[in-house]
Symmetry: C2
Subunit: 373 residues, 2 copies
């Protein structure tokens, strides 16, 4: 297809909320969408069939982790990440920046990039903007992310402003390193930073959206701030992004964060929360959170969620799920992960329907009563 | 059906090897068969769908573990183990004796049974012959096993002879506690012991087969002896069991042990070996053992076993399986377990076919070259 054709189509809006489609090399995504995180070439405890069955449309891979193990060049020799892990639908890869910047004490940031030590064997590595794009090219993801600095919560205005300069300069270098339709077919998204300062968020949005990316992400949220602060920054930043491109709120995955994000015009989300919570026995349901290890479920023969059609809810009781969790059985991780991901995928599907039917505010208010903040 | 009708039918023999069918309350099993072990109401890392898909006909549950957690009475209130774990095919439960006798230092054997401390919380419990039958009645398994003492490898003639007396007395008490067609519909198998003394094996077989069980097991093998010693005892004991009842070799699951067992007239096997090996990265294939963590598989795009039709081999490469194993990903346990169990189920299916076609010796010789001892 023509590299200049519109990849994103907004099909319906309801207030700021929008429903659309995004064309990627491995197929069309219906937005809003939640992306399960498959750090190391697998969404933890699940196989591709589990993901297809729950209706996952796109998953996320972590560049930092895959670069270290098994290595992006090894994956390229296998024909890319899709073939390696047997997932035929779209994949988004992050830039690795977030993981590297989280390696406190093990990394040095310069204008040119970031030097870091592997958490596996201590070996030294360097990520430049060009390097993370080369890695993501090797992985062959459908959507690449630019290298950015996600400033820690509590960073002051001065640090955040300086960091912003780097993030913008790196975004330009990433774009220069790869042009869709020439270098290859992958999409590339820019990332707006700016910490918790509205002037810096405005500046970042202006600078990043001046670069022609196929989509724009909001980074640096859900890093320790209150829900109120997150929402405040989201409400400020989302309108600064072009309406004709997809918007991606990074690292956010609590049910109400999705509902709020969509209400503010966000199209895409990812987070380890649903799978990590699942492995810790915390499950999202249409009636609120369930902590499956609680004694009250010991002899509860009902499914986790009476309104859920996932494999877990169709087949197993809370009593059985509690037994598996308490016994630390491996099946517990998988059945819980299937449910939590299905729940979020179903939530965004229902959000999409509500947008088409012009009743998003009702949808929003309903979920506010289930997951009050 | 009539409690006195024949549950086991021998359909074909080839030398001592035999192919047959065994009727149980949850369906007919085609023998010879391997039974995956589902200790705590799940075959580790797998769900019932995985087991159906690989052609598992019957699985095993562990009475000791289920009694302690979640409790046999709790399972009875759920409608039994089948309903609790959503497995509709046959289940065999052991008596719990083997696990209890393995609790060295934590148990006291008397003529009446065995007192032991829970490995979970140290609480005191007592298993009598009647008690383990009551527990297995609560679990609602298709085949119950009598309480026996599995004597440790190296036990002398005197200890083994005394132990034998208890095992026979307990077998009689188990049979007296439950009569198929009157008390319920479950089958009960007796267990021949006798350590590594042929005179005691003969005595045990005579005493146990004098009690009318629906099947007979050979216990106390694969406890530390050499392959030669195991085979020696097997060759001695199997002919002492009635040909019109199914024969079950307990705790045996290496490929050649199955091939040898079937050659000696054994119909049923169980073992944790295939699933435990799978979790340790050791995989059985039609070309021999594969240790998936070896560097030679790093970039090997071929399936584990070119002749295998399991879900793992149909979808994933050795390179991917090695990556999952090295990265300690949860999916590794499941994909490896699916393969190893499928391999053994396929092996006994091929053995059955070879028996029908009168070429078991060729089959036996082929596998001897693949898994030399």
């Amino acid at each position: 297809m023509n590299a200049h054709a519109s990849l994103f189509t907004c099909q319906a809006t309801d207030g700021s909320a929008r429903a659309g489609t995004l064309i990627t090399p491995h197929g069309v995504i219906q937005t809003p969408i939640f992306m399960p995180v498959g750090t190391l070439g697998t969404v933890k405890s699940l196989d591709p069939h589990d993901l297809y069955a729950m209706g996952a449309q796109i998953i996320l891979g972590n560049t930092y982790h895959l670069y270290l193990r098994p290595g992006d060049e090894m994956i390229a020799r296998r024909g890319g990440l899709h073939k390696f892990m047997r997932w035929d639908k779209p994949i988004l890869t992050d830039s690795g920046g977030f993981q590297v910047f989280s390696l406190a004490g093990l990394r040095t940031i310069t204008d040119d990039g970031v030097e870091f030590s592997s958490h596996i064997d201590g070996s030294k590595h360097f990520f430049s903007p060009e390097k993370v794009i080369a890695i993501q090219t090797n992985l062959g993801s459908d959507i690449m992310m630019v290298l950015d600095e996600c400033v820690p919560y509590g960073a002051d205005h001065d640090y955040t402003a300086k960091s912003l300069k780097k993030t913008t300069a790196w975004a330009k270098r990433c774009r220069a390193a790869y042009t869709r339709g020439e270098t290859g077919n992958q999409l590339m998204f820019g990332i707006v930073q700016g910490g918790f300062f509205k002037d810096l968020r405005t500046q970042s949005a202006r600078e990043i959206t001046a670069i022609p990316f196929e989509g724009y992400a909001i980074g640096g949220l859900s890093v320790g701030e209150s829900k109120r602060e997150m929402l405040d920054m989201l409400e400020h930043t989302t309108p600064l992004l072009p309406s004709e491109k997809p918007r991606y709120l990074m690292g956010v995955g609590a049910p109400m964060d999705l509902v709020n994000g969509i209400r503010n015009g966000v199209d895409m989300f990812d987070c380890v929360l649903p799978t990590r919570n699942a492995r810790n026995g915390t499950l999202f349901t249409s009636l609120g959170k369930v902590n499956i290890k609680r004694a009250q479920y010991r002899e509860d023969d009902s499914p986790l969620d009476p309104h859920c059609s996932c494999y877990t809810c169709r087949n197993f009781s809370k009593a059985y799920l509690r037994h598996l969790y308490v016994s630390r059985e491996l099946l517990s991780y998988r059945l819980n992960s299937i449910h939590n991901l299905h729940f979020l995928l179903d939530l965004v599907k229902k959000a999409r329907k509500a947008i088409f039917e012009g009743r998003y505010e009702m949808f929003y208010k309903h979920w506010q009563t289930i997951y009050p903040e």
